[in-house]
């Protein structure tokens, strides 16, 4: 059991951290900025990653990547999180679309789609969830009808992050209404210029995500990824990359949430309260468990095992730490959860509200618990 970086990992981590620090010298703390400004920094950060050769770290050299392993990408993401770097505006393309196309794409698809992701020229979004299909994703109803040379798509998608910046969409559609729930699904690489995108306002006022309406959108045959009827399998690949990309990030965010509560409690004087010390102790225990669990998960994955259902425990633990820390932050004194006329109080409340999403996005808390019940405890499906 060794929790230390190897010499190679240390070297790479240092190289990454040095570059990130230099690239960030003119970038302000993102936390208090309004969303529009944050997005501008995100665009700039995306360009810097491309220019610096930090996109496609784990992609093979022949498609323009750097041929490193998945851990290197996770370490780079971890260092970005530690440095408080902006979220790259094409994170979805770099972390989800690109790797999925690499895994399931034809040579033509790789040649068409990977270079613009590497250069930061084409942004992607993930058209999976629908108004009627949230946790039950495979029940999706957006339909694709066969026409000469391709498919005509009709339906709508929802909770789509970054759709207002993206031009390309990983689109799950039902190509066969008669086939089984999973077998009727295909995965399309769709052009978004005919999509109607309208933003949804989150409870904290941000407009990170969107609803998309597709009215007779044409997608060509050569843009079906992984073959007609194989969409579910391809989608699972995307979801696995989504988890992998955050392998070493979650703990950083959990630790930051605890750091912030200590900062706030110190300012207000609540830090002397034994009940607050007790709660900080409990939060730190769980935050550390996320960190150690992440390192163990990475270790197991490198030893050749697929990430197990225990990753659901990590997600759940992480969401709990961040939610509880952010709640404590707005309840430390009698007014900060009510009066929002200072910048600090407003930011605190925005974070608290944003954290409510953590037990909903990326698989709800209930889905994570079901995974643990079925795959760790071997209990029958409850749905």
């Amino acid at each position: 059991m060794d929790f230390e970086d190897s010499a190679d990992e240390l070297r790479f981590r240092a190289e990454a951290a040095t570059w990130i620090a230099e690239a960030m010298t003119d970038i302000p703390d993102q936390e208090p900025l309004p969303q529009a400004e944050r997005e501008e920094w995100s665009r700039l950060w995306q360009d810097r990653l491309s220019a610096g050769g930090w996109v496609g770290l784990s992609w093979p050299a022949e498609v323009g990547g750097r041929g490193m392993d998945a851990l290197s990408q996770a370490i780079f993401n971890e260092e970005c999180a530690k440095a408080g770097a902006p979220y790259p505006l094409n994170g979805v393309g770099m972390m989800l679309a690109g790797p999925t196309i690499l895994t399931h794409g034809t040579e033509e698809q790789k040649a068409r789609y990977l270079p613009p992701i590497l250069d930061g020229q084409e942004y992607w979004c993930q058209g999976f969830s629908e108004p009627g299909s949230g946790s039950d994703l495979a029940s999706l109803r957006t339909s694709a009808k066969k026409v000469d040379g391709g498919w005509i798509v009709n339906g709508s998608k929802i909770w789509t992050s970054n759709a207002h910046h993206a031009t390309k969409c990983m689109l799950l559609v039902r190509t066969d209404a008669e086939a089984g729930k999973h077998a009727g699904i295909s995965y399309l690489l769709a052009d978004m210029d005919k999509f109607k995108v309208s933003s949804l306002v989150m409870i904290n006022g941000d407009t990170e995500f969107n609803e998309m309406f597709l009215d007779d959108v044409f997608v060509a045959d050569e843009d079906v990824l992984g073959g007609v009827g194989n969409g579910w399998r391809v989608a699972l690949t995307t979801l696995a990359f989504e988890r992998g990309s955050m392998a070493l990030n979650l703990w950083v965010w959990a630790r930051e949430a605890v750091d912030r509560i200590i900062e706030i409690a110190t300012e207000t004087g609540a830090i002397e309260d034994p009940a607050v010390i007790d709660q900080i102790g409990a939060l730190h225990c769980d935050a550390e468990a996320v960190r150690v669990g992440s390192m163990r998960m990475v270790g197991e994955t490198r030893a050749g095992a697929a990430p197990g259902p225990e990753t659901s425990a990590l997600k759940s633990l992480w969401a709990g730490v961040v939610q509880n820390a952010n709640r404590l932050a707005v309840q430390l004194d009698g007014t900060s959860g009510v009066l929002l006329d200072t910048e600090g109080a407003a930011a605190r409340m925005r974070r608290y509200l944003r954290a409510r999403a953590h037990t909903i996005e990326g698989g709800t808390e209930e889905v994570q618990k079901s995974i643990l019940a079925e795959r760790v405890l071997d209990l029958p499906r409850s749905r």
Binding site: P274, H284, A373
Partner: protein
């Protein structure tokens, strides 16, 4: 980063599991008869006492994680053994410079005396009165420890108490006057032994509850298909995993003198205590009416969990220590 268990550690778990299985049922027998060390202890003491003892202390350079794995396995089986107390006593002495030979070859069985009446955490100095001393009957010597030192003693004024877990008997005693030896990381190491046993207790309780949830039928379905039942066990799984990760990591940190090792030990003990008590309570709940009978086994897990949670500093004390150290580290 190679945060994985070795083949040797997998083998240790398998061997200890087989040994513990041969004592099955004995834990329950102590509800009606006074505790005595079970027959499996002879093998455990002679073959496994060197686990987690560095070469400099007379060991064979087995890692502390090896010991965690063995003790976790005993915890799962709820073994009524004195080995865990012995192993914790040895760990208290690892940094003392004393000759541990008799304890390491199993010819002497030790136990430990750390907790003191009226305190909820580690004593800052070695006091005279000790409580929560496990498995004292038949022990050859007692390792008494406080924050300022450790001492191998023959105790005075031994008083056997009524333990909530009769398979883990508890005594009070008085530590005779004498010279203390250096403690080093002894308290941290010994506390991790208790944490590891609690991680096992949590897993054992989850396994028992899971088995029941997979077979017991109500309303024409197995009860594990109800989310109300399934989700409380899923929560127990998440807590138990967190506790085990923290325990293994703390063992690595202690052994490698990492800067935050002390905080990590506190986090491991606090999390393991919470996980074990929670899992045992859920085990009782999931068993329904049977769960509150003496006849069924869930209460045995609760007994062990509560007794371990209290000893070597209670979970709430460890949690507050984590909070205080975390705050101090941020300043």
């Amino acid at each position: 980063m190679r945060a994985t268990f070795t083949q040797d550690q997998a083998d240790i778990a398998k061997t200890v599991e087989a040994i513990a299985a041969s004592a099955e049922g004995e834990t329950r027998s102590f509800l009606d008869a006074p505790w005595r060390a079970p027959a499996i202890d002879a093998t455990l003491l002679s073959d496994f006492s060197v686990l987690g003892v560095p070469e400099r202390s007379g060991g064979v350079d087995s890692s502390l994680v090896d010991l965690m794995v063995a003790v976790e396995t005993l915890g799962r089986a709820l073994a009524p053994t004195s080995f865990v107390a012995h192993a914790a006593a040895v760990q208290l002495m690892v940094d003392s410079g004393a000759d541990l030979t008799a304890a390491l070859d199993g010819s002497a069985r030790w136990t430990y005396a750390v907790d003191e009446p009226g305190l909820t955490g580690w004593p800052t100095s070695l006091g005279e009165q000790k409580t929560l001393v496990p498995c004292l009957a038949g022990a050859d010597a007692v390792v008494a420890a406080g924050g300022d030192g450790v001492r191998l003693v023959q105790p005075d004024d031994v008083r056997e108490r009524v333990s909530f877990d009769p398979s883990r008997p508890m005594s009070d005693l008085r530590v005779p006057a004498g010279e203390s030896l250096p403690l080093g990381r002894g308290l941290q190491r010994a506390t991790l032994v208790a944490a590891a046993e609690m991680c096992g207790v949590a897993q054992g309780a989850i396994a028992l509850a899971g088995g029941h949830a997979r077979s017991r039928q109500q309303f024409g379905r197995v009860i594990g298909s109800f989310q109300g039942v399934a989700f409380q066990l899923a929560e127990a799984v998440a807590q138990a995993k967190a506790a085990w990760d923290l325990t293994v990591h703390a063992a690595w940190a202690v052994e490698n003198d990492k800067p935050e090792a002390d905080m990590q030990v506190h986090a491991a003990k606090a999390s393991a205590g919470r996980a074990a008590v929670f899992a045992a309570e859920r085990c009782i709940q999931v068993h329904g009416g049977m769960g509150i009978t003496m006849e069924a086994d869930p209460h045995l897990f609760l007994r062990r969990a509560m007794v371990l949670d209290a000893g070597l500093g209670s979970a709430s004390w460890h949690r507050r220590r984590v909070g205080a150290l975390r705050i101090a580290g941020s300043r």
